[in-house]
């Protein structure tokens, strides 16, 4: 319990720090916020923007106040009333807009994570059992390719092959399982490779342990030795890497969502940054950071279930 409180404190601090960083960095980008907002509201009539209109907008969003005060008000509203601002562009509460986009991102990141875990772990085990045979070498070369290629490039190649040439799936779209295949594949490839490599190494190390030999000496069949004795021990570093991969997935999702026009938080973030929609950017970052922290929190809890020697106090 004490651990949980401590942990929650750390998580809150991390969220605060990330929000502060985003806030100040966004304001470093050149170009006045008020002008940009005005341009978005007066499409086609940009030239007619007057000084009066600019100052009107500035006072409405408190843009003339010093930055630290702006940030202070934002934090105060967020903590006291759960209000993390209103989008300049959409003119709607940020929280509401996030809830619209969240399911798509959770779907994409979740599917990618599932692929990374299932494919990565099983291929890793297979590769470890086939150590130094030809299939192991092939898998290792493929994964080297996997960790080296950027996700957006893979995405484009996948689109060219499966959508444009083979015409198996649509280039983009959202709503059914078929639409999910390409983005999830492109997003997860890097993680599959990373998880596979760690699983292989960790599995090989575990298989060399004395308790594995003793289990053999007890007369247990190979599959029981792997599933019962080796897997649980080998999973510790793998679980850590899966937790970190969540960060990669969410980061990668920003680009991948844009490529596949996937209506998630990632593409919302990209749009908001180019429109200088500060509250919206702030909200997207907040959502992504929270998801990442939650997944890593779950990973840490998983540790204690995998290894009884680990206790948090």
């Amino acid at each position: 319990m004490k651990y949980l409180i401590k942990r929650a404190g750390f998580m809150a601090f991390t969220v605060f720090a990330v929000c502060a960083l985003t806030f100040f960095l966004m304001n470093v980008i050149p170009g006045g916020t008020a002008e940009l907002i005005l341009k978005h509201t007066l499409i086609g009539l940009e030239e007619s923007a007057t000084e009066e209109q600019l100052s009107q907008i500035s006072s409405r969003y408190n843009l003339d106040d010093p930055l630290y005060l702006q940030f202070y008000w934002w934090v105060k509203e967020a903590v006291l009333r759960g209000d993390i601002g209103t989008s300049y562009i959409y003119n709607k509460p940020v929280l509401y807009l996030l809830t619209l986009r969240l399911p798509a991102t959770v779907q994409l990141a979740g599917a990618s994570m599932a692929i990374a875990t299932l494919a990565g772990v099983s291929l890793g085990i297979y590769s470890a059992l086939q150590e130094n045979r030809i299939s192991d070498h092939i898998l290792r070369i493929v994964t080297l390719f996997g960790v080296s290629m950027p996700g957006f490039w893979i995405a484009l190649i996948l689109i060219i092959i499966f959508s444009l040439k083979l015409k198996l799936v649509q280039v983009s779209g959202y709503g059914n399982l078929e639409n999910l295949i390409l983005p999830a594949a492109a997003l997860s490839l890097h993680s599959v490779a990373a998880v596979m490599r760690v699983t292989r190494t960790s599995m090989l190390e575990t298989l060399g342990q004395e308790y594995i030999r003793f289990a053999k000496a007890k007369g247990l069949p190979v599959w029981k030795i792997i599933s019962r004795h080796a897997l649980k021990n080998a999973m510790l570093p793998v679980v850590t890497v899966i937790g970190f991969q969540m960060g990669n997935l969410l980061g990668g999702a920003v680009v991948i969502e844009k490529i596949f026009a996937w209506p998630g938080i990632g593409s919302l973030l990209v749009d908001s940054i180019s429109a200088r929609d500060l509250p919206m950017v702030q909200g997207c970052v907040l959502a992504i950071v929270t998801m990442f922290l939650l997944v890593n929190f779950i990973v840490d809890i998983l540790y204690t279930h995998l290894d009884p020697r680990i206790r948090y106090g």
């Binding site: 007369g219 004795h229 649980k232």
Partner: protein, 313 residues
Amino acid sequence: MSLLEIRGLSVEFPAGENAVKAVSNVSFEVEEGETFGLIGESGSGKSVIGLALLRLLPESAVISGEVIFQGQNLFSLKPSELRNIRGKKISLMPQNPAGALNPVLKNGLQIEEVFEERRVDKKEGMKRSLKLMKKLFLTDPEKLCTLYPHQLSGGMRQRLIACMSLSFEPELLIADEPTKGLDPEAKAGAVDLFTKIKKEYGKTMLLITHDLDLALEVCDRIAVMYAGEIVELNEASKVLNTPVHPYTKGLISAQPRNGLVPLRGQSPSRIKLPEGCFFNERCRCSGIECSKKHPEIKKHKGGWVRCHFQSLQ
């Protein structure tokens, strides 16, 4: 017919272009009901013999020779036949009890699995094991089963391992350095343990150790190993009280209680073994012949000795 017959056993581990000769041409027999000791310094190849018997060495090891157990050659068995012998007819008590127990599995499960794949009732088996645990000085065995290995002391772990190895009342018990890494008190406990195992079960035992006290206490016959081969083999009391081979003599006078006189030099490189006697360079009584010709093992006063000058010793 002897229970176990080892004929010309050699084990090599490939290391780059060379091979490390861990065991060269070892032959001995273990009679039914006898406790046979293999002694020698670290790296003399004694543990490798124990592991080779149950085919527990890594796949890279090159093994030649024959191991006949109850008329069957263990090296020509199919994996399923081998599993029926492992843990049931021949069981191994591994060195390093801390490493031989799987840290993430409960003790109970690790005992229970001895009875898996055996066409016996697990519950019946567990009852026997619990009784055995009590006999082996483990109090409150039911509670021990619900704990994890890291919650036990070193001595308790060793007795737990002994219990696992004996649960099936194997015809042959291979105990690999049971006193390695134990403090003096636990060591004394181990001597009690083995005397008890010997008395109560009267089973055949192959005791691999560098603990001469334990060997003298429990063994009927002893083979002394040096650089991968047997240099002396005789009744335990004869080997340890009136040693013939210069190496055995050196080993005994290196005991703390005999004045801690160290053997000079180091054992030879196992990649390129000397042409003559392996012990030649460290021997206090070597002659010209010793550096030229490798001595054969010869009968001497009821035992066997590998020395050119055995009649003079």
